[in-house]
Symmetry: C2
Subunit: 247 residues, 2 copies
């Protein structure tokens, strides 16, 4: 929302990349460029505006930080779609809440394995050291664009043959239908971050893209830890909504 408290702006455009940003931004607002559309190439913008390529890129980086555009490596710059809304107080999986927002979700399982619990995981799950845990790494997309990587850990003792199921669907649904497990409580921690290393690679992004790291511990009705989850979201792909009582 814009209120009347303060009406200062970035000020006169002594910086050329701000002018270019505003120009592109205006084209997007006006609807000349729609979500998914490809921007002119950097070299085209260069000749169109008579600026050095570095200056052009400065403007593009700023628009990227604002969530207005995104890049596909060595393919080009594109106008961003709106973010999806995620409400951690609802126990519906990614597949259902993305669909409910009229978008098309998809999940790709990158890797699964069952490993003995290390000291940290042993503590998280209240299970003996070395107890078997399922590790799942998945990439999730909205409308064909990869938006998050998740690293999921589930107690193998209560979900023995979990890895035999099709994990490219809703884990929520599998846990409920096949194992009778539902989540009653979520403990969540979030922090803005940069997507680097594996996360950047899996999202096909240059290291350094702003992101949101979300860590979740899910408990069932008996207080048992059901999932231990790390999610790495593109910064421009998600909005978090929560409604909560105050203690």
């Amino acid at each position: 929302m814009e209120n009347a408290v303060d009406t200062r702006t970035d000020g006169p455009e002594n910086r050329q990349y701000l002018g270019l940003r505003d120009g592109i931004s205006a084209r997007i607002s006006a609807g000349d460029l729609k979500p998914g559309d490809k921007l002119p190439s950097e070299r085209q913008l260069q000749s169109e505006f008579g600026l050095a390529r570095g200056t052009i890129r400065e403007a593009l980086f700023l628009l990227e930080a604002e969530g207005a555009i995104f890049r596909r490596d060595r393919s080009g710059w594109y106008v961003s779609p709106p973010p999806v809304v995620y409400d951690p107080t609802r126990w519906e999986g990614f597949m259902s809440y993305v669909e409910a927002q009229g978008r098309v979700p998809a999940t790709h399982t990158i890797r699964t394995e069952t490993l003995p619990a290390d000291p940290l995981l042993s503590e998280v799950f209240s299970r003996p050291l070395g107890a078997p845990l399922h590790h799942i790494r998945r990439l999730r997309s909205v409308d064909g664009r990869a938006v998050l990587v998740e690293k999921l850990i589930v107690d193998a003792a209560i979900t023995p043959d979990l890895l035999d199921f099709d994990l490219n669907t809703s884990l929520t649904a599998i846990l409920k239908r096949k194992f009778g497990i539902t989540v009653a409580r979520n403990q969540i921690s979030m922090q803005p971050c940069a997507l680097t290393g594996n996360e950047a690679v899996d999202l096909k992004q240059k290291s350094g893209l702003p992101g949101l790291a979300l860590q979740r511990v899910s408990y069932d009705g008996h207080g048992r830890v059901v999932e231990y989850d790390h999610e790495y979201w593109r910064h421009d792909a998600v909005q978090i909504n929560v409604d909560l009582r105050v203690r």
Copy 2:
């Protein structure tokens, strides 16, 4: 946490700025550089590593995105302190939770005014169009570093002389002690963003710094809207923790 699901890294350092990032990162991890310490100037790094200034800056930008370092405009680059933890389910103000974490909070009121409600605010507060609302803009710091700008709106009908109090303290405390108001419910929305315009100016940052936009509607026990708040945090200054029941 690091688990064993995936051990790939950024790979061999064919890119020089990644090497420089790792070098500086290592100095920080090793404790050669501590939170608050100043890094060598860009030109010093240039001669030390034999790289063009642009490449040096590439590495610094990456470290900034990772939250490892921050800049003070035209003064230099500094090692970041750890983030503060914010739990929106607890109704303690900024001043108390920052203090509880052994840090030094401070608040600076930038501007206050009382304005008639526009259509949007009229709806949010369930008050007639034109009803008076207090607008407060504040800058908040931790250990002397500005970390967030907030735009607060409060219903003047239930807090008539609010602006006469010292707003550089805890608003939470003022509302409770002077007006007998406590918050029972928070509706929160969060989204990673870029800090631009006024927010960047007030935080003395270059436009484009990654941030976290947090919007909050607070209700008292009777369901009355008490505060409507917009907070713009530096991305490297905050971590959000929530513990919640699932619906």
